[in-house]
């Protein structure tokens, strides 16, 4: 029997009906969202401990893409920990607010504010100065939150990680940290115009760590368009649909 009927007195019913409506709105948005996999949009691209990467040159839309991946997870009621190593909390918040607003507008979602308030509790932003970021520190912070029942992430987004300077060990530690918390992780990887490519066609700074990644997308500006191509995909990870980034709204759209 649905909970709504068990607690059918007075305001309780009102509240639960509203909750149910919000769930419907979320589902609607997930299915319409081109990032979604599977028929009901419920499938995850990565398993716990899985790594995903978004590569592109500066200003093409890496952050926009990972924020949309995060928003899709939040709509699926999954907790997202967004770690930014460059931007302050306010700026990261703006990215989310802006892209969610555009997403809701594109798919004509009603009650945007209510939906936003509902999914907001599924996101936590942490910012570190690049130099101050370390895996033990992150582990300490995460344990603090998980042990106190404050927040337990299912998806971790790391924006601004310095692949050129980081050691492979740090990424390996991050991977085991993610696995132990049952979370997958998405990274943004900046590439450079003159960067050399390794034999497997991956940028040199990234190729050393590529073995740890299950999927890697590349954003490339082609004329006035931004194409999203898959650079690397291990077997078992769904390939998804052909996608591009609308350069005006920075929203992911399906390739036409």
């Amino acid at each position: 029997m649905p909970v709504a009927i068990q607690r059918s007195h007075g305001l309780a019913r009102v509240y639960l009906l509203r909750e149910r409506y919000i769930e419907m709105l979320k589902k609607d948005l997930i299915i319409k969202n081109p990032l979604s996999q599977g028929d009901d949009g419920g499938e995850d691209l990565l398993v716990p401990g899985g790594f995903g990467a978004v590569l592109s040159r500066a200003g093409v839309g890496k952050t926009a893409l990972v924020v949309q991946i995060a928003l899709t997870s939040m709509l699926r009621n999954k907790n997202v920990l967004h770690i930014s190593l460059n931007d302050p909390i306010d700026k990261v918040t703006l990215w989310y607010r802006d892209l969610f607003g555009k997403l809701a507008q594109r798919y004509h979602v009603e009650f945007v504010e209510q939906l936003w308030q509902d999914i907001l509790r599924r996101r936590l932003i942490m910012t570190f100065r690049v130099m101050g970021f370390s895996v033990p520190k992150l582990e300490e912070r995460l344990s603090d939150m998980v042990n106190q029942g404050i927040f337990s992430p299912a998806v971790i987004v790391i924006d601004g990680f310095d692949f050129a300077k980081a050691e492979l060990q740090q990424l390996e530690d991050l991977k085991s940290l993610a696995r132990s918390f049952g979370a997958s992780a998405w990274f943004t990887v900046p590439t450079h115009r003159d960067e050399l490519l390794s034999t497997d066609g991956l940028p040199l700074a990234f190729s050393a760590a590529a073995g740890l990644f299950d999927i890697a997308y590349e954003l490339k500006a082609v004329g006035s368009d931004v194409h999203i191509s898959i650079l690397k995909r291990v077997s078992g990870v769904p390939s998804g649909r052909a996608l591009r980034l609308d350069p005006e709204t920075l929203l992911i759209t399906e390739e036409t």
Binding site: L11, I89, L124, I125, F133, D144, F151
Partner: protein, 695 residues
């Protein structure tokens, strides 16, 4: 008084709490010879800083009301408004910004851009106030002024350029290198009054040169002449750079950053030079008023002292000799004996005593010309009123005043206190638009309302100290609101025929959520089914019904009431009957429209040493807080969260004990949000119980 308007600066000093604003002001007054000794905010001599003239301010080490003062530097007259740093007193900050032409944004070299700095910066943007930044406390452990400059760029979006480099840092901070003149300065003497020019330390020469180039590069955007000089590789004069920096600063497109340590008396004199160089004179700023005779059309004020007077009362103080009104004159000259009109009340006022304020001392003057700040004696008015000459009917635009979010019942202890309490409340409400007072109809208790626990606490304390009025206070009450979540139709007939003339009125229509405002009444009556003369009565009926909601007896907001049908009786219908019909209809339909309770949610930012990061998160979480993010700044972190105000009572004590007194927090209103079901049930039950016991 200097009569050359280009040599006048009306500035404010804005910052996060405990960044050292008052200490900085104290040093400025000392170096400009307005005071002859320095007293620290919480100094051992017990005198307190000059600007903190209220006893309470001295005791708590915070500045509560902004005192105005003036000083002279390099032939310039600088009027300073010292503004409060605590968020509860934001309206004071906003009021000051409204009348200022420029500001010094004080930042802590350790804490950097903190939450309150962001609030203050938003306010500066709202009023278009150009600013220069001063990175204070360079002598503290962990000080890094260049990181703070970077934060000004990344967190506040300023085009910040450091005009100086620190010579040494923390305990070895000695002075600064000015990269424009390529000179190093140290500050000697007991109070740093002796500014000594020294050679730039050899190890800093290259860095200073690089920084100079950065400054020139940034300034070149604002001067064609400077750009040409760079391209032609001519020698670049300091004046040219200063002129370009000034143009950029006035347009709020560049923020010069200076550094020092007010407490250690370092860097203040150069900051004063910068105030005269980069901040605007009154004639550099466009001020607008609205013409009340011309449908509130905006009018540009000329700033000419010979034209009709337009001035704004931005602050009131009640002193021994009556009310002291701080004014800023925008046009004309307010002189002794002149007659002006208060454009809000239409009342004529004859100007009596005109004074200039220096914290709590004053100096009599003859007139206040356009562009200046001064004070008037013996004038009855409210804060925010405009005084204008009789020939113009202008008003300065209204300031943004937030709604109070917390209330407290106060009961005077004896009859004497009762009399003094009304005097005190009368004064406080006039001085501070965010502080309100009312009498509860049912309990007959006096209720005071404000912007936070500390805000109300300070007023209760001031009542005791300044008016000898002892009051007992109730528990603070959160200003909940009730609203509806869906449309519901009504059709209500009010009929009464029990002796005397009858009453009859029928109203039909619907109510629906109105997210854009508190209340809207829409009349869609066609064909005169309710005669036009009764429509206002219907509106009045709805308005009377939304004053107290049925759930918690808090105001109902966010509602649109539409009437589209009804009926009347040629004899029995009256204003009163339709008023009762509308009120009855509302009571009947409200429950059908799925009512909910909204509560004020506060944006709470806690700065804590990183060791207590987890403990602070736990504290916030226990209080139904939603943690938005955590910013790691090395030795300490800032945790940003949204917490219901109802859960924030006594937080400062808990935070202090959980962090060994090392964490501090700021809190400001963020939004109203629906309370969770379990809490709503609890609140409703509590309200019902109270109602029963009152009956």
């Amino acid at each position: 008084m200097i009569r050359d308007i280009t040599k006048v600066r009306n500035i404010g000093i804005s910052a996060h709490i405990d960044s050292g604003k008052t200490t900085l002001t104290e040093r400025i007054l000392f170096y400009t010879k307005r005071i002859h000794a320095i007293h620290d905010v919480k100094g051992k001599d017990g005198v307190g800083a000059t600007m903190d003239s209220m006893d309470l301010e001295k005791e708590r080490g915070i500045t509560i009301t902004s005192a105005a003062t003036y000083c002279q530097w390099l032939g310039h007259e600088i009027n300073i408004i010292d503004t409060p740093g605590h968020v509860d007193f934001t309206v004071e900050v906003e009021r000051s910004l409204r009348v200022l032409d420029g500001a010094i944004l004080v930042l802590c070299a350790v804490g950097g851009v903190q939450s309150q700095s962001i609030t203050v910066d938003t306010q500066m943007k709202r009023y278009g106030v150009p600013c220069i930044a001063f990175v204070n406390k360079c002598d503290r452990n962990g000080a890094n002024p260049l990181r703070v400059t970077e934060q000004l760029r990344s967190k506040l979006g300023h085009n910040a350029v450091a005009l100086q480099l620190p010579i040494g840092l923390e305990h070895s901070f000695r002075g600064v290198v000015d990269v424009l003149s390529m000179t190093a300065y140290t500050f000697e003497g007991d109070f740093g009054e002796e500014v000594r020019q020294i050679d730039i330390p050899a190890e800093m020469k290259a860095e200073a040169q690089r920084q100079r180039e950065k400054v020139i590069d940034a300034a070149s955007l604002f001067s064609d002449e400077l750009t040409e000089a760079i391209l032609e590789e001519r020698e670049i004069s300091n004046d040219l750079i200063i002129e370009a920096l000034r143009t950029g600063t006035l347009a709020r497109k560049i923020t010069p950053v200076l550094m020092g340590s007010a407490y250690k008396n370092k860097g203040i004199q150069i900051l004063l030079d910068a105030v005269t160089r980069y901040l605007p004179a009154p004639c550099d700023v466009d001020n607008q008023a609205v013409d009340l005779d011309n449908n509130n059309a905006p009018v540009k004020l000329s700033g000419n002292p010979d034209e009709p007077i337009v001035s704004l009362a931005f602050k009131l103080e009640d002193g021994l000799y009556g009310q002291l009104t701080y004014i800023r004159v925008y046009q004309g000259t307010v002189a002794k004996g002149a007659t002006v009109v208060n454009s809000r009340t239409g009342r004529k006022i004859k100007i009596g005593r005109v004074v200039r304020m220096h914290a709590d001392q004053m100096e009599d003057i003859d007139s206040i010309p356009a562009g200046y700040i001064g004070a008037l004696f013996g004038i009855e008015c409210a804060s925010g009123d405009t005084f204008a000459s009789q020939e113009v009917n202008y008003a300065m635009t209204a300031m943004h005043v937030p709604e109070p979010v917390i209330s407290l019942a106060i009961i005077p202890k004896d009859n004497k206190s009762q009399i003094n309490m009304s005097k005190a409340l009368n004064r406080f409400t006039k001085e501070d638009p965010t502080f309100r007072t009312k009498v509860d109809d049912e309990t007959s208790e006096t209720i005071i309302e404000g912007m936070g626990e500390l805000h109300l606490e300070i007023y209760v304390e001031r009542m005791r100290r300044e008016y000898g009025c002892e009051v007992t206070t109730g528990t603070p009450r959160v200003a909940y609101r009730e609203t509806i979540t869906q449309r519901a139709d009504f059709n209500y007939t009010h009929k009464k025929q029990t002796g005397g003339s009858g009453q009859y009125g029928r109203v039909a229509g619907y109510i629906e959520p109105f997210p854009d405002g508190d209340f809207e009444f829409v009349n869609e009556i066609r064909g005169g089914v309710i005669p036009t003369q009764f429509i206002p009565a219907c509106e009045k009926g709805f308005k009377s019904a939304i004053v107290k909601g049925p759930l918690l007896e808090f105001p109902i907001t966010g509602i649109r009431a539409v009437i589209n049908d009804g009926a009347f009786h040629s004899v029995d219908s009256s204003d009163m009957a339709f008023q009762a019909a509308a009120a009855g209809a509302f009571r009947e339909v409200f429950g059908k429209a799925k009512p909910v309770i909204h509560e004020p949610i506060m944006k709470v930012a806690v700065e804590t040493p990183s060791d207590f990061h987890g403990a602070v998160m736990g504290l916030l979480n226990q209080r139904r807080g939603m943690i938005l993010g955590a910013q790691d700044e090395g030795l300490f972190s800032v945790i940003e969260s949204q917490v219901p105000l109802a859960e924030m009572f006594g937080f400062s004590t808990v935070l202090r004990s959980a962090t060994q007194g090392q964490a501090q927090f700021t809190m400001e209103f963020a939004q109203y949000r629906q309370v969770p079901q379990s809490v709503a049930e609890e609140l409703t039950a509590k309200a019902a119980k109270q109602k029963r016991s009152a009956a």
